[in-house]
């Protein structure tokens, strides 16, 4: 596919064939060759063919090929005349990241770091098909699907400020459990409060560098501070909801009267029964994911209190923010000078709303929304802040992570004969994991350098660097 350089940070996929709008990929010169080698550019073009798409089919610098839509893709569709697509959200609905700060500094945990990660390993269910110690009845599960983080609050596993500091306040109000299949409900019964496998993790980190002291202060971050970051989603429930609707929409796609270039792009008009049902079922999975991450963070805080033998006041664990990076949202954006309601799909992309936006909680409204960008387990992660430029260019969106460069098989091959655990421990990073091949598959070299990704979005102005974190101990699924 042809790519035209727009400036140092953006490349255009010119409109051709059935494309309704052009594609725009945010990437630097050093990344573009590897992006071109993948199918991802074609996927950006494929998304541009879908009805109701506004302005452009966008991709963030952590783009890599996904199913139908590329990972790192952002696409907005007119709420009245556009489509909604399960493939544009992804299987792990509301896969996301949360970050908590503490009152502790590196020296407070240094001696206890190994005990902490061992205890987290014992107390946070993780790995393939892991089940937690919360067993739900169907009626209670439906309450989780309706309430999201507030369910955790009602059960003593959250503070009011946790809800404030969660995107959408931890609840999409359109959630309708009646749109969720029995299969999906069954998968959700035993997985609340579990981390999952693959790239999901819980990490004890340290604030290594502050780029923007004023914003960092508002977010409650300071240099040398101990943080807890976790990455998880809606588990089997979200997968099943995506799969159910994908199969159903693929079956009905011919009735819509337009061709899709890839069956995985199966979609429905937003203003149709299928579209509404998917949006409301997706919201259920989103709410389940928020409750899940809230419970996981609560469990982690209990481990800190017990292992360090301190009280909640001394620990001072406060949620900085929780973002989702696989989601479709109903949002208001200005298009050609006019306010329009859009359905913004972010698949492996993070909302990055600017200062003053009404969806940003009061505490952060003067500076903008926190954006959390985790890297691999050996390098660093970033806290960014949303910008006005993101509203203008990317429907208020930015990158979500590093993105893989090696396949799982290639990573395993590369890690053969090496002890990834020891290599990380030599760098002062303790790691614990569950899956047999997780550590090899998830080795740092399997990922792009997140700093390169973050530098692009910073330079392009679609979010701004606030702080860099470095890992100290990592629990992998």
């Amino acid at each position: 596919m042809e790519l035209i350089k727009i400036d140092d940070y953006r490349w255009e996929v010119p409109k051709s064939g059935q494309m309704r709008v052009p594609g725009i990929i945010y990437a630097g010169d050093s990344m573009i060759d590897s992006i071109k080698q993948e199918e991802a550019v074609k996927q950006v073009a494929n998304v541009a063919t879908l009805p109701g798409i506004i302005r452009a089919s966008l991709a963030m610098p952590d783009i890599h090929w996904g199913y139908g839509f590329p990972i790192g893709g952002v696409a907005a569709f007119d709420w009245g005349t556009g489509i909604i697509s399960p493939g544009g959200v992804g299987y792990d609905i509301n896969c996301g990241v949360r970050l908590a700060g503490t009152s502790l500094t590196g020296k407070d945990v240094k001696e206890k770091l190994e005990d902490l990660i061992n205890s987290l390993y014992q107390n946070i269910p993780s790995g393939v098909g892991s089940t937690g110690n919360i067993k739900l009845a169907y009626s209670e599960e439906k309450k989780v699907l309706k309430e999201g983080s507030k369910w955790a609050l009602r059960h003593g596993m959250a503070k009011e400020s946790d809800i404030e500091h969660t995107e959408d306040f931890g609840c999409m109000p359109n959630a309708d459990p009646e749109t969720v299949s029995d299969k999906a409900l069954e998968r959700g019964l035993r997985q609340l409060g579990t981390l999952g496998s693959g790239n999901h993790f819980l990490e004890i980190g340290l604030v290594d560098k502050i780029y923007d002291p004023d914003v960092a202060r508002v977010f409650g971050l300071f240099e040398g501070q101990i943080t807890v970051m976790l990455h998880s989603g809606s588990r089997g429930l979200g997968y099943q909801i995506c799969d159910d609707f994908l199969a159903h929409m693929a079956k009905n796609i011919k009735k819509l009267g337009f061709e899709i270039p890839d069956r995985q792009l199966a979609c429905a008009m937003i203003q149709s029964s299928d579209g509404t049902r998917y949006f409301n079922a997706m919201a259920c999975a989103a709410n389940y994911a928020w409750a899940n991450r809230q419970i996981l963070m609560h469990k982690a805080s209990e481990v800190f209190l017990r292992v360090l033998g301190i009280g909640p006041k001394d620990l001072g664990m406060n949620l900085v923010y929780d973002v989702c990076h696989n989601i479709a949202k109903k949002e208001m954006h200005v298009v050609d000078g006019k306010s329009r309601i859009l359905c913004v799909h972010r698949k492996g992309a993070t909302r990055a709303f600017p200062p003053g936006h009404e969806s940003v909680c009061e505490k952060y409204r003067s500076v903008g929304q926190p954006v959390l960008v985790p890297g691999d387990m050996g390098r660093s992660s970033y806290v960014l802040v949303g910008t006005e430029n993101a509203m203008k260019e990317t429907f208020g969106s930015t990158c979500h992570g590093a993105g893989r460069v090696l396949s799982r098989t290639a990573a395993l091959k590369k890690s053969k004969g090496r002890s990834i655990q020891r290599e990380l421990e030599d760098k002062g990073i303790y790691v614990r994991w569950t899956g047999r091949s997780t550590l090899g598959e998830e080795m740092p070299e399997a990922y792009k350098n997140v700093s390169e990704v973050v530098n692009i979005v910073h330079e392009a102005g679609i979010s701004r660097k606030v702080a860099k974190l470095k890992p100290m101990a990592v629990l992998k699924g």
């Binding site: 090929w65 990972i71 069956r263």
Partner: protein, 137 residues
């Protein structure tokens, strides 16, 4: 096992072969569970039947594997083998032989999260059939 794995950046795929279409569908089921667990270690302790429909052969393949994957993801059952009873371009019924997962006895090698339509293919070759399926792992 009549399949080989294909390497993808973020995921895992298989190419499956069969002497006929029924054989192909049975082999695809075995291949998926071979990726998931140590299939040689499974016993056909229990039996159930499954019926699926599809818009065409690739859709039927995706729906067939989806249904079997749910036996694992939803009910913790591991499929040893399948026997196709009837098969057309749009429908399939089969017996499924499985055993319930027992922690400690069964190893889970890979968590297969979903069967995707990505690059899915079911096609005849000179004297046999071939399919390609990519899994989200």
């Amino acid at each position: 096992m009549k399949y080989k794995t294909i390497d993808h950046t973020a995921d895992l795929g298989i190419e499956v072969f069969g002497s006929g279409l029924a054989d192909l569908f049975e082999n695809a089921a075995c291949a998926m569970f071979d990726l998931l667990t140590d299939a040689g270690n499974l016993q056909p302790l229990c039996e159930t039947s499954v019926a699926v429909t599809g818009e065409d052969r690739p859709d039927l393949m995706a729906n067939w594997l989806r249904e079997l994957l749910y036996l694992w993801t939803g009910k913790s059952l591991l499929v040893k083998s399948t026997k196709i009873i009837s098969l057309s371009e749009y429908t399939l019924t089969a017996y499924v032989y499985y055993e319930p997962f027992v922690a400690g006895r069964h190893i889970i090698k890979t968590e297969i999260k979903a069967v995707t339509y990505h690059q899915i293919m079911v096609e005849p070759e000179a004297k046999s059939w071939k399919a390609r399926i990519i899994f989200d792992v």
